[in-house]
């Protein structure tokens, strides 16, 4: 059995004790409860790192896990008190720039921990006349010292394990050597470098951070990999085994890992380590390592094909990003070129300048609910929210009038969104919750003597407004244009009544709305609204700024929010009934792109995604036979064409047997699932049960 599987089994065993990071943190707080914020936080992090007791698992090649934070034999009153106290001191959260950050691993790998501490010492000297900065730098330094001490504790724990049965002694000796090397200097091998990265990531997890990206791992680890390979010190299989050893620990998280991309000269950054990363993620086959491919026109087809093979296992990763579009989008914000080309993703798809901006935040902006305000004088009963009263429907005489009214509603909605963002940030004094350890991984906090969220980062913080419902909105606008203003089949007031009665008693009108052109079929009549959607929302959010002067990006992605938001949205003019999901991410409405993937791609590549700096998600499902040796090249060509046409992202899912089974039980959720065989294609859910089973059985064999 592969080592990572054994490790996974160990990880699944429930540890004894109470998971109590607060307890270990409070040990430090308690030292000086009256300390200034940065010293207080640093004390807490120092004790979190040094008081916790490392646990080495038998199958770990790369050590570090959160088991060290399980408190045993601690008086429950002490635990409770520590928790209450730590809660009072508060922590940041996603909305206020806590995590979703891609650390500057390249920097710490080049200096090592002692080098980084040394950098802090030099900065202290430089800022010696600025007490506040000295305080900040000292707190950063303290967390680094604690971090180093924690690694020493791991070495000690490994030494102790030498006398315990069941441990591989030579493996333990390797761990001890690696830990000692990292305490004393910079990493000098692939294994040491990977161990250092993992210690950092694990430390962020101990701090309670989520969705911390590993970023461009195939780039920053490459020098170590290359040297080891050339020396014959390591093989690709060993590299993959080491990577599996950390990827298997990423479950229950969203850790973005980026491979590929291009450098400033436009040269492809794919290397043989990229392939190792891909294979390791594929082998682990667990959600958590959120693999992203930065695809460029000169990424070799062979590599893209390897990615498709991994996707075809049913994993759904890597998500494939159009590097040219992302770079063009990011360049609009004035980042230095070399920084732009080193971008990666955090969370699901959010574009991020690696280690140079404060942690990411974003929120959802669902757009279809604004129709309700137009039709009902600013009050939506379904969503129980209020927009603008834009007046009597009789004054809307043309499609153009309607568009201007809808724009007014959206503009108000954007202001409302911004005010909430502001209020959330205002509730938090930016200087009150410093992040001394995290700051050490952001250029150039140590040098500037400033916290990551207080001017230390090279670039200001960015907020992502995730605009939802491009398909629902485009289809709705097209239906209004066609049915109301061109065919004059009904008035806007009749449409309002139909929407408010969820089309009951308006079946004829409902049918007409449903048969209006739909987004995803390469029909400009409706696609023009998708183009407008991105242009208009992009421009709406241009005008806002974050607390430190950073910008708002927009995204066209939604995870599963389109379902929740849909549940609270009235019937929409596209014929969608009340409570049904909104269109997903940047994709057309469910089951509405009926002309096949090429038409979908022709449609979804029309908007100008260089205005969508945060990122886009276009989900597509394919039956497993599309991943067979004969057909994969067709998928590859499909992706290439999407990107050539200006699409920004595609996430492909191989339809597993499980999905086919689900589709049999819940056909409404899988209306867009197509089965293709020679000379024939059909929507899976329209097929009879017997035939569905035939397909299910085919899938089993492939």
């Amino acid at each position: 059995m592969k080592l990572f599987k054994e490790l996974n089994r160990e990880l699944c065993e429930e540890p004894t004790g109470t998971y109590a990071p607060y307890y270990y943190r409070f040990v430090g707080y308690k030292k000086d409860l009256a300390a200034k914020p940065s010293a207080l936080r640093a004390n807490g992090i120092y004790s979190l790192f040094t008081e916790s007791r490392p646990v080495i698992l038998k199958n770990e090649l790369i050590v570090g896990n959160r088991r060290s934070l399980f408190a045993k034999d601690v008086n429950p009153i002490v635990l409770e008190y520590s928790k209450n106290m730590v809660d009072i001191f508060k922590e940041r959260w996603f909305d206020t720039n806590k995590d979703h950050f891609a650390p500057d691993y390249r920097h710490i790998l080049s200096l090592g921990i002692p080098g980084l501490i040394n950098e802090a010492d030099r900065s202290l000297l430089r800022h010696r006349n600025d007490p506040e900065k000295c305080e900040t730098i000292k707190s950063m330094r303290l967390t680094l010292v604690g971090f180093s001490k924690m690694i020493e504790n791991y070495a000690v724990a490994a030494e102790e394990a030498l006398s315990i049965d069941g441990y591989d002694k030579s493996r333990l000796k390797g761990i001890i050597d690696t830990c000692r090397a990292l305490i004393n200097g910079k990493p000098s091998s692939f294994k040491e470098a990977l161990q250092l990265v993992w210690f950092c990531h694990n430390a962020f997890l101990m701090e309670g951070r989520y969705a911390m990206a590993l970023g461009r791992i195939d780039q920053y680890l490459y020098p170590f990999y290359k040297e080891d390979i050339e020396k014959g010190a390591i093989t690709d299989d060993e590299v993959i085994e080491l990577l599996e050893n950390i990827f298997i620990k990423l479950q229950d998280d969203v850790v973005n890992i980026c491979i590929g991309g291009q450098n400033q000269q436009g040269e492809c950054d794919v290397n043989s380590l990229s392939l190792c990363v891909l294979k390791a993620v594929g082998n682990c086959n667990v959600p958590g390592p959120n693999l992203s491919l930065r695809l460029t026109p000169n990424t070799p087809d062979e590599f893209l094909d390897e990615c498709l093979k991994v996707i075809g296992t049913g994993l759904g990763y890597p998500a494939i990003m159009n590097d040219d579009i992302n770079i063009a989008a990011l360049k609009k914000y004035g980042y230095d070129d070399e920084d732009v080309y080193n971008y990666c993703m955090v969370g699901c798809i959010e574009n991020f300048i690696t280690g140079m901006q404060p942690p990411w935040s974003d929120d959802r902006f669902d757009t279809p609910r604004f129709f309700d305000f137009i039709f009902n004088n600013g009050i939506s009963e379904t969503s129980r929210t209020v927009g603008l009263d834009t007046g009597n429907l009789e004054y809307i005489k043309t499609m153009d009038d309607f568009m201007r009214t809808y724009e007014k509603q959206l503009a108000y909605g954007a202001d409302e969104y911004f005010s909430k963002f502001n209020a959330t940030n205002a509730s938090l004094n930016q200087r009150f919750i410093p992040e001394p350890f995290l700051s050490c991984f952001c250029h150039d906090c140590i040098g500037r003597g400033l916290d990551i969220n207080n001017g230390g980062a090279k670039y200001p913080s960015v907020h992502g407004a995730v605009v939802m419902g491009i398909g629902t909105v485009s289809d709705s606008l097209a239906a209004i244009e066609k049915v109301i203003f061109i065919d004059k089949e009904a008035t806007l007031s009749e449409l309002r009544d139909a929407l408010n009665s969820n089309f009951e008693g308006y079946e004829e009108l409902h049918k007409k709305l449903l048969s209006a052109p739909k987004y995803g079929n390469n029909d400009d009549f409706v696609d023009k609204y998708a183009v407008w959607f991105i242009d208009y929302l992009g421009s709406l959010f241009e005008k806002y700024h974050t607390y430190d002067g950073g910008r708002f990006y927009i995204a066209a992605a939604a995870n599963v929010s389109s379902i929740y938001s849909g549940a609270q949205t009235n019937a929409t003019p596209d014929g969608r009934k009340r409570g049904e999901p909104l269109s997903d991410a940047a994709s057309p409405g469910y089951g509405r792109d009926t002309r096949g993937p090429t038409s979908t791609i022709n449609s979804v590549s029309k908007p100008d995604y260089t205005k969508v700096a945060c990122g886009t998600v276009v989900n597509q499902k394919y039956s497993p036979e599309m991943f067979s040796d004969g057909k994969r090249s067709k998928l590859l060509a499909l992706i290439r064409t999407l990107f050539k046409k200006g699409g920004q992202e595609i996430q492909i899912n191989a339809t597993s047997r499980e999905i086919l089974k689900k589709a049999m039980d819940n056909p409404d959720d899988y209306r867009d699932l197509v089965v293709r065989v020679s000379g024939f294609s059909a929507f899976y859910v329209t097929l009879g049960r017997e035939v569905q089973l035939d397909i299910l059985n085919r899938t089993q064999h492939e």
Binding site: T598, A637, R640
Partner: protein, 253 residues
């Protein structure tokens, strides 16, 4: 000259190289009872009513080749990127060669490849009209048995004669055999087809295994599908059939 078609299917992946768009011609001179595209058996429009889909869909309309072309051109970038193109299928394309030839000329003038999928039961003069403008034929061989061919409306001698003339005329032909349970999958049938193709100088075949995905279409048309209860061929049997064919020629798919 308008063409009677039922449907244009984008992103066809089983009808030739690369990403293709398939134009389905209506009307067929065969009546294979296992056919998965029953809407193309007749020239007259068909109304399709699916139990779980509202409304009735009418399939079948006469369309100008130029109009078809404009839809085919939507996917030009995909053909170029994948080495794909257009496939004309049916029904029997070769029953509408006048319109088909006009369409092919239009497609070729855009630099797009054209494959014609045919069962070959037409006079060779029809092929002569198409040969200069068709890049490749997908050519169905259903059986090597005269009587069986006659039962489905075909004529083995025309089929084999046309096939050998296409080869003699230097056309690229992809021979395809549908594997139909109780029709052509027994060892004897396989061997006779294998021998026949071998004698015609065919080096390679594609096997297309029976499926009953079309049964919902029969239902939608209010027709009884004789093959609705016929199980797909097991993968073990397919392997055995493949092995048998391999005695005579190379097998794809």
């Amino acid at each position: 000259m308008k063409i009677n078609i039922s449907n244009i299917q984008h992103f066809s992946v089983g009808d030739g190289d690369g990403i293709r768009t398939t134009v389905f011609f209506k009307g067929c001179n065969l009546h294979c009872p296992w056919c998965h595209n029953p809407e193309n058996l007749t020239s007259a429009p068909c109304s399709m009513t699916y139990p779980n889909k509202p409304g009735t869909e009418i399939l079948g309309k006469a369309v100008e080749p130029a109009e078809i072309l404009s839809e085919l051109l939507e996917d030009k970038d995909f053909y170029d990127a994948s080495g794909g193109g257009v496939t004309l299928s049916g029904g029997e394309v070769m029953l509408q060669t006048e319109g088909a030839a006009e369409l092919c000329r239009l497609i070729k003038s855009e630099g797009i490849s054209v494959i014609v999928d045919t069962a070959g039961v037409v006079p060779y003069t029809e092929f002569e009209k198409m040969n200069p403008i068709v890049d490749e034929y997908i050519y169905d061989i259903k059986t090597a048995d005269c009587e069986k061919y006659r039962n489905i409306g075909g004529d083995l001698s025309i089929v084999t004669d046309n096939l050998s003339r296409l080869i003699r005329d230097g056309k690229s032909v992809r021979v395809r055999i549908p594997l139909i349970p109780d029709f052509n999958t027994d060892t004897e049938s396989v061997n006779s087809i294998g021998k026949l193709l071998c004698s015609l100088g065919i080096k390679k075949v594609e096997l297309l295994s029976f499926h009953r995905l079309g049964s919902s279409k029969y239902e939608a048309m209010g027709l009884n599908y004789l093959y609705k209860d016929v199980e797909p061929i097991s993968s073990e049997n397919i392997e055995m059939i493949k092995k048998e064919y391999c005695k005579y020629l190379k097998v794809d798919g």
